[in-house]
């Protein structure tokens, strides 16, 4: 664990994301995004302090893709989210994957990756209800526990 690394602190659960950890595997943790108040915006972070996909073993990569797929499927089933954007930014100090939903209201700002910064800016001005975010976190937690 690296001191002052948000990703490490979230993985170690010394910092809690909204609603707490949703699910974890041997090498990854799933959470609601720590900072951006959008419902069903999920983050998969590595437990190890690494930066890139190339730092993962084949086994870890398999584990990751299965987890991404599981989350994505449930976003559709539970929250009727038809479109998501999946990113991994290697500028970030700790490896994590964004699973960013395209909610209906976001279509007003625009569809496509180029609109994500404006959507984030808008959602910081008009944040989703914390209670609503946590309700979705709890629904996903319950579903993934089964």
């Amino acid at each position: 664990m690296i001191e002052n690394c948000l990703g490490c602190q979230i993985a170690k659960k010394t910092i809690a994301c909204p609603g707490g950890t949703i699910f974890e595997t041997d090498n990854f943790v799933l959470n609601q995004d720590f900072d951006i108040p959008i419902e069903s915006f999920f983050i998969i972070g590595s437990k190890k302090h690494i930066k890139s996909l190339i730092d993962l073993s084949e086994e870890e990569l398999n584990e990751l893709i299965i987890l991404i797929n599981k989350v994505r499927k449930n976003m559709k089933q539970l929250f009727e989210i038809e479109i998501t954007y999946i990113f991994q930014d290697e500028n970030a100090p700790h490896f994590h994957i964004w699973i960013f939903p395209q909610l209906n209201w976001m279509n007003m700002i625009g569809k496509g990756i180029q609109h994500i910064p404006s959507i984030i800016e808008y959602s910081k001005k008009y944040p989703a209800k914390k209670e609503g975010i946590i309700r979705r976190v709890n629904l996903l937690k319950e579903k993934l526990r089964i």
């Binding site: 909610l103 209201w105 007003m108 209670e131």
Partner: protein, 282 residues
């Protein structure tokens, strides 16, 4: 007195949305007041205690601004739910979809705007993609079993589309369809609004025609014989109480609910309305 309109916030999230080409802007026709409504959980608790002490309110309409942007939205919904009366949520629908499941047991009617029968018309007034969002909201709201109210803003631009809007509304079978024209109030905050003005007698004719053609719909407007809310009281989240009179362009501030009982305000409103009716009949 049957209806209480609760103004939770003056803030609205629509204005930040991108407008369509040639449109003067998103929702520029809106006559909401600006200025922050200062409230706290304690103030809201106090207000709802006063409301619950007065037993004659049978409908509460939660409105704004956009109620869903208020951090106190859930507290207010829980309070209205505890009153056990018919509750309508008046929303632009932008943030509605993720809240629908939560609202299922707590809100009776969801009131949404529909100003066009297609994207070209509605998006001109409300911003890019608004028509698609509204239609999706209507479908999902109906699937969940809510009553639906439809609000249509009418100007010269969508007047030719009104027959097609009526066809859509007729299929929705809403609890009511409220048509309104541009109101000449709070003009200082609205720029480039001249495009929204429309001829009143033409509007009246349209309302009459629609009422004849769609007799099964409950159609309301300022021109209707029957007012959708004949005697209503407006309560803001900071406790201020207002009434609206036909002859006044602004709502009239009566006082603060934190200082007096709701019944006193209701009596004041009844007196004012009686006086107004007398004056109108003269």
């Amino acid at each position: 007195m049957d209806t209480l309109h609760f103004i939770l916030t003056n803030e609205c999230n629509a204005y930040q949305m991108p407008r369509t080409a040639n449109s003067p802007g998103v929702c520029k026709f809106c006559y909401r007041q600006t200025g922050k409504i200062e409230t706290t959980p304690e103030i809201l608790k106090h207000i709802f205690k006063k409301i619950s002490n007065y037993k004659k309110i049978n409908e509460i309409v939660i409105t704004g601004g956009e109620p869903l942007v208020s951090p106190y939205f859930e507290q207010v919904i829980n309070n209205t739910n505890a009153l056990n009366i018919y509750t309508t949520l008046h929303t632009n629908g932008i943030l509605l979809e993720p809240e629908l499941s939560y609202l299922e047991e707590k809100v009776s009617c969801i009131s949404l705007p529909l100003d066009g029968s297609n994207s070209g018309t509605q998006d001109y007034y409300r911003g890019k993609g608004f028509f698609d969002l509204t239609m999706s909201n209507i479908t999902k709201t109906q699937q969940k079993g809510f009553d639906i109210g439809i609000n249509t803003f009418v100007s010269e631009r969508n007047l030719q589309d009104i027959g097609y809007i009526a066809k859509i509304v007729s299929k929705i079978e809403p609890k009511y369809w409220l048509l309104s024209q541009y109101r000449e109030i709070n003009l200082n905050q609205r720029i480039g609004c001249d495009v929204y003005r429309s001829n009143r007698s033409k509007f009246k004719q349209v309302i009459m025609k629609l009422s004849d053609e769609y007799s099964e719909l409950k159609i309301y407007s300022l021109e209707s014989e029957q007012d959708i809310y004949p005697e209503r009281v407006w309560v803001q989240a900071d406790g201020r109480v207002y009434t609206d009179l036909t002859r006044n362009s602004q709502n009239i501030l009566l006082g603060n609910l934190l200082e007096r009982n709701l019944e006193e305000f209701i009596n004041m409103i009844k007196q004012l309305k009686l006086k107004e009716r007398g004056a109108l009949n003269d």
